[in-house]
Amino acid sequence: MVTPIYIIAIALGIAFSLGFFSKGSKGIASSLFYLALTALTAIAGQWLIAFLTGDQSTVEVFTSGFKPPFSISLQMGFEEAVLLSMINIAGLLGAVYLFDQFKKYGAHLMITYLLLIMGLDVIVMTRDLFNLFVFLEIASIAMAGMALITNEGKSVQAGFKYLTATAIISAFFLIGIIFAYNFGDSLYINELLMSEGILKAGMVVSFLIIMPLILELKPFPANGWGLDMYQATHPAVGALLSGASVTASAYVLYKLAPLGGEIGYQVIAILGLITFLGSNLAGLKQSHTRRMLGYSSIAQTGLVMIVIGLQPMLGEMTLWIAFSILITNFLAKSGLFWLAGIINKDELKSWGILRKHPILLFLFVMFVIALSGLPPFPAFFGKWELIMALANSGNAWWIGLILLGSLIEAVYLFRWVGYGIKDKSFDFSINCSTYKTIPIYIMGAGLIAFVGYYLNHYFGDVVWYFIPLAFAALMFILDFLPAKLKNIIAIIGMGGYAYYMYDHFLGVDNLRFFFALIFIVGGILTLIPGFTKSGKRLGFYPAALLMFSGLGMLISATDLLQFFIAWEIMTIGSYLLIIRGKNSIKHAFSYMLFSLGGAFTMLAGFAFAQSGNPGIGLEVLSNMNYLPGLAAALIAIGFMTKTASLGLHIWLPGAHAEAESDVSPMVSAILLKAGVFGIILLFIGIGAEAATNHPLTYTLGWLGALTALIGNLGAAFQEDAKRLLAWSSIGQLGYILFAFSIMTHLGWLAGLTYTANHAAFKAILFLGIGGVVFRTKTHNMYEMGGLIKKMPLTFITVLFAIITLAGIPPLSGFAGKWLFYNAVIMKEWYLQGTIVFFAGIIAFLYSFRILYAVFLGHLKDKHRKIKEAPIWYLIPQFLLMGFIMLFSMQPELILRPFGDMISAYFPTDALTWDNGTALTSLGYWNGFRVGVIIFILFGILFGWLFLTSRKVKKIKSFNIVYAGEAPERPETTHMAHNLFAGYNKALGFLVAPGITNIWKWIDESTHDLGDFIRRIYTGNAQTYLVHIVAYTVIVFMLINFSI
């Protein structure tokens, strides 16, 4: 083992010797420099390996042979080894990244750089308080020196602010050290922590020690100086600051936190929380990339502070959680700062340039997703453990605030991702030198490796669970293949998965099998239109498969963690899918925010639900102890963001409408059912008996009814065909929510029928309209018209789908309506039921509108040569139509298994079958007979008209009576715009964008608040000093008061 003392020795030695090299021998100097960094990394690495592999125990090294306090002691334990490795790797890669700068500045910069890394190393290792001070100073001097790399005014200013601020902070620290020495009689940290003197000396001493360390971590709001550093200095410096420096400082705080005792921990946690929330808020309106990253870094630091502060509660988990957050921040932030350096532009929008560099784009998106704390990245597991632990100890408020902060962080991060993926307004090109990209690749690889490590750690025994995810990952690798080939691979893979589901769930858990059928088979059907695309279609298949794998994993999840991971993977996948649409940046963004908000409430709900339970299996949903009502409500809200219930629905129309033609059916017909599945799981957890008068199901029933009403009403007033369908999805999901909330056998039967029907007809509708949009290149219905003559097949499928949607007999939609009526009357939910029925009638408005405005009326000039929709769009539509016909003519075939499924939860057999006639205690219905009667009748009457009408002459579009005049143009004759004007006049106020305005108000006021908050960063070095002093004083006073 090489003792850690060599870290100092090598660094100092080389740094000194570098000074001797003249400018002529730059080559030797730089090789020596890189050698030194490699050596540091190697030393750290070998310790790490020793700790990981064997029984290496913590080692303490004393510099001059004396015991402390007469010598400086360095400690090398597992934690130190990990952190040193992180710091040195960051140092080494950063140096690689800075290759050109080193070439330019030569030995001076190398010396500064080496000293910085060494300083950070020693900060981690040292157990001597004064030594800590010295190396903190060395690190901050070196850091300030690094600010001079970019020789701009701004950078210099930032360096100056940084220097003055850290100087003051260390001055405080020095005072603290003196007092600590005075009262504790030692500078040896290990002794100080045990010393009774410090405790006796009261709070002031520990305050003076801990407060500067907190200030070093740049707590909000006394952190303007740090932000400026992030913003103005060379991105590599930002990376070091965010990756290495924070890591070291946080560890120091962790080391010394025990000095403060109970109160100290509390203060750290609270200040951490303030930092986390405040910093994220202030970051909201940021348009400068690196400054925004700075806000995010500080927020992450705040999170780490929270973890450190909650140490007494978290116990052994502290380090694990803190490490999870730190390592994610370390890898992702470094990568992002370096990317920022490559792009070298300030505005967030300029990141659109990454579209030209798919690998970098992939890494960028991955980094941001990791930073937002989404699975499967380490930070997620950290947050998960943190929140579970908080729930177990009954800290609901903390959970709420932490999740709120995370959501706010996601706001600006995903806005940025949106620009990165979609924005095309860039007008420059970037130069990706190998030495600049390689460090980023390494960080990316490291992140992926850690994902593997964490997944293995948590799910080592259920590897099979992640097979779909692996398949999605494979699609990432295969993304260079042509789209058609990838489509085949994807369909084959999904087919295999479908077989797996068939094998595992059919007969075992039919309810899951049913949803697997919707998810996977529906997925295959909606993948078929992908054959129309030529080229590579980069990014589509990974995202789609990510979504479908998330959906599949949702089915096979057995505990809350698996479920949540699946949920988030599905969300990420669908987000990446939705954002592919032409104008969907905004909508994908709001989709992501609502999804994340929902996911976070769900997470909180899960946390409460598992609290007090032995495990986190899904069965905890039926045994909630801690705040059971709130937990169930939170979980329900989480699912309802996905089903777009009233109040949480505003994301859906845009997201579904602006997505690509073949994505819309995926997200509408299939993805929404994930929320339904979740609600079903929750309701199963609540249980049939408890639910009879459960306030939650009652509320959800009303909510479902109102959602149905508003959704359908909204659909009736749309001009955009896909938006119309999207609003209709909101309405249909309202029915489904309502039906399941009834919580009786019949109600669930109706719910499942609706679910199956909606999956089928909404897929047909979106595919049909997708085909039309594919040909006409517009969404506006009034720009279409008369397409029945050009696309008869599409018209037929859409007509059937609409008849199903409207619930008109003889098609299967009526089965749902009939069951629903019986269920409502038996449950005695008359008023809600009537609202839903009203909604059902309003469905006619948009049903007619979409059929008429798109397919009937007048064909437009430019559509005169349009062709039928591509065969690949038609195939799935006709397959689904086949399903609908089967369901319509033989409802027993499908409803009976549904009934058996539900019997497991609602044993009463409310629906009986008598020779094809469905019987309830109220009514009866024979689908087959109705169907036969209607078809025969239709045939006879058609014959009657055929007989009586002689010599039918086919006429053209404008051969209509027009009060003696002639129509001018199809555009002015096709009465499709604002079709329901009268209705709008009477009832339009119901869909006035009130809820949208509420959300907009929330959005704007949050942004304004953030904007207001960040005004404290005036840019004046002196103000920042005032902040530091004032912050210290206020915190001190508050602590005094509270004691």
Partner: protein, 302 residues
């Protein structure tokens, strides 16, 4: 087999009776209205003449498949409604195919014709057709609310959704009729009936002089004949529905004829008195008093 043939025969006979009664009813009503206005009015057989003339039109035009099928959908909706409607209580010969579905089926099957007709009119390409359909659908949505509330109230009152059983429960004198036993629900249903028959003041859909008769603007000849045939059947069938729901059903044809005539005459009477509503007015109207009555009916059974 014999059974089915007999059933079909009886049903067809019933259809013929209803059709002709529907035609006759039209002329009687027109005549009454004329007499009120001091006119002589149309001849009692005028509807048949019109029908013959329409079916005898020499040349027909078609705007397309859906245009052609629109009337077929419409009449299939009307005749279908007839088929699922029990006509005479206690007589299996005149109960048609009511065994295939209950009240809910009737409720939803009405839309079959409406949607088909709307689509046919849509393909006709006349802007007024679309306006008419838009008005019709708009009005219909709100008409259905008091209707549904009333139906639910009755379903709860009689604990069934089967129309036959509802009629059975009303046997034994006027005191057992729903209109007596549940006047509030009946009032809601009668209000919605005005909208369902689309007579004045709720006839903006067809508004003859504003949007030349609305959806069927482009329909002529046999198409119009089919539509008129349907109207005759539909009016009676719907009146039968209300008769079964509110007025104790019918035990024989005479009773059916008298009751349906009186039921239909309610709407005519109101139509003669009141002027036409604009669409948003009628929408608001149905969301006013009728809705309150409906909710009241629901509250009373809760």
């Amino acid at each position: 087999m014999e059974n089915i043939a007999a059933k079909l025969l009886w049903t067809f006979l019933g259809l013929l009776i209803v059709l002709n009664w529907g035609m006759l009813k039209t002329s009687i009503v027109r005549k009454i209205v004329a007499r009120v206005g001091g006119r002589y009015g149309i001849r009692w057989y005028q509807p048949w003449i019109n029908l013959i003339k329409l079916y005898g039109t020499r040349g027909q035009l078609s705007h397309g498949v859906m245009f052609y099928l629109g009337p077929v959908f419409r009449i299939a909706g009307g005749v279908g409604l007839f088929l699922f409607m029990p006509l005479i209580f206690g007589d299996p010969r005149w109960s048609n195919f009511a065994f295939a579905g209950d009240l809910i089926l009737l409720l939803y099957f009405k839309f079959f014709g409406m949607l088909g007709m709307a689509l046919g009119a849509g393909e006709g390409g006349h802007p007024y057709s679309a306006i008419g359909v838009s008005r019709g659908l708009s009005q219909y949505t709100t008409v259905e609310i008091p209707f549904t509330l009333g139906i639910i109230a009755l379903a709860v009152q009689y604990d069934t959704l089967s129309l036959t059983e509802m009629v059975a429960a009303q046997q034994g004198g006027i005191a057992n009729w729903t209109i007596v036993t549940n006047p509030i629900a009946s009032a809601a249903l009668l209000f919605s009936m005005l909208g369902i028959f689309m007579h004045a003041p709720f006839d903006l859909v067809k508004a003859p002089n504003e949007i030349p008769i609305g959806p069927p603007t482009e329909y002529h000849g046999s198409y119009l004949g089919v539509l008129r045939t349907n109207a005759a059947i539909m009016h009676i069938t719907e009146a039968v529905l209300f008769m079964n729901l509110l007025f104790g059903g019918a035990n024989n044809w005479i009773e059916l004829i008298i009751k349906t005539f009186l039921i239909y005459f309610i709407t005519v009477f109101i139509g003669v008195v009141f002027p036409r509503f604009r669409i948003e007015q009628s929408v608001r109207f149905f969301l006013g008093v009728p809705l309150i009555l409906g909710i009241l009916a629901i509250i009373l059974i809760m």
